[in-house]
Amino acid sequence: MTDTPYGFDTLQIHAGARPDPATGARQTPIYQTTAYVFRDADHAAALFNLQEVGYIYSRLTNPTVAVLQERVATLEGGVGAVACSSGHAAQLMALFPLMAPGDNVIVSTRLYGGSITQFSHTIKRFGWSATFVDFDDLDAIAAAADENTKAVFCESISNPGGYLTDIPSVAAVAEGLGIPLIVDNTLATPYLCQPIAQGATLVVHSTTKYLTGNGTVMGGIVVDSGNFDWSASDKFPSLSKPEPAYHGMTFHETFGALAFTFHGIAIGLRDLGMTLNPQAAHYTLMGIETLSLRMERHVENAMKVATWLENDPRVDFVTYAGLPSSPYSDRAKSLYPKGAGALFTFAVKGGYTACVKLVDTVEIFSHVANLGDTRSLIIHAASTTHRQLTTEQQEAAGASANVVRLSIGTETADDLISDLDQALAAAVK
């Protein structure tokens, strides 16, 4: 809304977090309460009618959660954000205002396995469907659209790594179709990529990952750019027409650029209830204060480890998009200049058996189904995070049976390399 003149490092500490108005507390307090007292009946009525913004009930708004929302909205360059209970919740919350039964979304084939399952099976229960497309084929994205297509969805840096979406080009296709582009920016974080500046309408995160940064709490968030004209067509009646679920209020006309965020609170959180709790918001806020510092180290370490692996004879290939050998190296330089993230896969000579042995032999790397921790993590995606997929889906997503996924942490890079060295020695005979 305002062009903030401050730098990223300042915003990641200060955005949203003025001293607590009630006590002067400098650190954002954890407002552990479910409800808030109304001044009088008029005040209550104004709050329920959304004529005044304030606190009613923590399923909708909470002062600690609000700081997190403003923090991420600011870092992403959006107008507002709605936090929710997980990254998966955020994906549903982003689609919910846009979709009705019979509608569909065009989705990249290169996604976190859990998201592929959510889109290919679970959303059908709502009468929605997804069409999966290779997002390097821009014509195929446009060709997949029909009159019921309501959004385009992709990850900036995709899980399990090695792929970077060309957001400006995909955004141009979405714009041509008159529908919003939603980007899951979990793996890049706003430090490495700001999808809104590249043309995205909505950004979602699993804040479980780098934003919190140390594997403590689950969370998600939806950020709106405020740039999409919901009333330009009849495609988005929940935003552009009187909404029966909120006594006939027309969100876009009433709230302008803030419509999507108000809808997310007043209808999304109110009726779906996938709310973030204030304790979790607190942990995530602590994490974001050091986001840029951590991401710099994550990226630096990822580059060192990926380079070492690529030169090791026991390794077939490494997919890190930051490597000069990557087919996405040019895209990394132009669109992700601060780094291609810290998640990638590599293929071990000896295939599936060697992968399993490697994962069982590492000491510093933790064998867990997570990413974006300060600790380095390792997993065999094909048998875990991408397990529910078909072989073709696994290959399209970059999670074939012969690759291991690494989430590089902020430890000493040489220690990570030594650990992989000893594990490779045991795994590849």
Partner: protein, 161 residues
């Protein structure tokens, strides 16, 4: 989008006391009613203008059919806030300059979606400040802390209470 500094908007909103709202609705679910109710709750005096509803009252204030028909005893009017389509704005601004220049008028505000650069130029030539394509309720909520409660990007960074 036009860029107005936070300093300018803050000063406008803190020095304005009375706002004539042209095209305000009496229907509770209309955005213009929202804005009027919010600003009224925040202590602004609202002078509603709506020919279709003239003679009725809104928040205890008489609704007048036009700007020219606001009686002298209503006193100074600091701002005219326009909830009409852009093509009606020239005439409203001309009327405001004629009727209210001597009554303290300083600001013309056009709501979100209302942009009329000719009318803006006319108002500026008459010594008025103009805001277009914005909402005074949203700007007030953003600058004075309310949007902070719901996770909006207020653009405000401060370590002071």
């Amino acid at each position: 989008m036009n860029n107005y500094t936070d300093k300018f908007l803050r000063e406008l909103l803190s020095t304005t006391k009375t706002i004539a709202m042209v095209g305000v609705s009496v229907n509770e679910m209309r955005p213009s009613y929202f804005v009027a109710r919010y600003l009224n709750l925040k202590g602004y005096r609202i002078v509603p203008i709506n020919p279709g509803q003239a003679g009725k009252t809104l928040f205890g204030q008489m609704i007048y059919p036009s700007i020219s028909e606001i009686p002298e005893e209503v006193g100074p009017i600091d701002m005219v806030d326009i909830f009409r389509r852009a093509e009606h704005v020239d005439q409203i601004v001309d009327e405001a300059i004629t009727a209210l220049s001597a009554r303290g008028l300083r600001y013309i505000w056009m709501q979100i979606g209302v942009i009329n650069e000719d009318a803006e130029a006319t108002a500026v030539a008459a010594g008025l400040d103009v805001v277009m394509n914005r909402c005074p309720k949203i700007e007030h909520q953003r600058l004075f802390g309310e949007l902070r409660k719901a996770g909006f990007n207020t653009g405000i960074i401060s370590s002071r209470l």
